[in-house]
Amino acid sequence: MSQTAVDVPPKGGFSFDLCKRNDMLTQKGLKAPSFLKTGTTIVGLIFKDGVILGADTRATEGPIVADKNCEKIHYMAPNIYCCGAGTAADTEAVTDMVSSQLRLHRYQTGRDSRVITALTLLKKHLFSYQGHVSAALVLGGVDITGPHLHTIYPHGSTDTLPFATMGSGSLAAMSVFEAKYKEGLTRDEGIKLVAEAICSGIFNDLGSGSNVDICVITKGNKEYLRNYMEPNPRTYVSSKGYSFTKKTEVLLTKITPLLERVEITEVGEAMEE
């Protein structure tokens, strides 16, 4: 009789093995490492010819601003972009992963990617991790079936909406949208409304700040307007620059020429058979 351990291939999904140990550690007083959250305002809206996505650019680590000018609008496909709120690593990783999957799919099918494909891939992944992948996304794009805008929550549920906001500044931005959105906006009106909503988040929410990024996607064309608006400039930069006091004098000027570099190439022996 031989006892062989059958090697079961690892199944997908979250492995809860370490949860008990983590609980025990927190009870003993270990502080869990804080993660970089994006504490964000991200918005999207559908206008006459397509989709406009907007995001602020502040990444926070608890009470500290870790990145003043990060990029929250991620590339998924030439015609699909995705804004991400929540844990920065999660949004980056998830959007990168789905973006690669979409590209492989494009190679296989020979067609442009559809927004609903990205939607399904993202929601499947997030659901299988039961909300532990903390990524809240606003996915927008224009494909052969028209413009689409979706929101995806960390647990994997999705909404299909004409205008959407996510992140800690979502209420501030949503109040602007609810008050001012109407159908059939032109490109300029749409950009203005998105910028207004993001600014509302930037100025009324502590987790959002710095600049406004905007991405306009229409049929066959996309415009990524990085730092479209910078409503928080550094206002007190010294105009004089750095100046030395008058008493500095040049003591010595010595030029040391560097030796020429000589390259020695050894003729090696041929490899043995």
């Binding site: 609903i116 939607l119 299909t160 909406l161 949503m174 109040s175 609810e178 008050a179 009324n204």
Partner: protein
Amino acid sequence: MTFTIPIDNGDAVKIAEAESQRTLYPYVTGTSIVAIKYKDGVLMASDMGGSYGSTLRYKNIERMQAIGKHSLLGASGEISDFQEILRYLDELTLNDNMWDDGNSLGPKEIHNYLTRVMYNRRNKFNPLWNTLVLGGVKNGKSYLGMVSMIGVSFEDDHVATGFGNHLARPILRDEWHADMSFEDGVKLLEKCMRVLLYRDRSAINKLQIAKITEEGVTVSQPYSLKTFWEFSSFHNPTAGAEGSW
């Protein structure tokens, strides 16, 4: 908690209360209040709903009341605590009237009184579970202030409580300006109340707007706002995305 201990002759006697009774959670709550200063005084808006947890139990609660000749008090949070505060203020105004010397409490004084009451209750761990908005006009000067259940109090040109903090404040910060006319003020308040109606689950479409000027307080009749649901993408939202909401 009260203990009952049976004594020899069989009677149960209520012994001392082991722990003083104090407010732990609110039961019947009112949602946000939004108020702004305008040209002639102060405008305040509130809806008429009282929620019992997640049930919309009462739909005819007036959460704004005139106090004396010069002030208007609006409250969000526990309705019974609001009624208690009205009783305290009644005593105050009654006292005033008994003096009968022509003096009357202005909004600043009432705001100060409320701040003291709220803060002291909070220090005893027995708060009045309200966020109060006090507006008024006295001697031509308009006043608008707010007190929270932990005693935070301040004065401002526009205030909002509850969900209004997140949804109405951004709009007010953007669009309020000094010396608004009555119509503009009402339009601004309605804008805020409409967003709250869309996005606050405990809001109802039955609101009142109260106006206080040098002449006195008028609270409007209840009315409802027009809402818009005819976006084309609402008709069949998941046509292209089965499994979405």
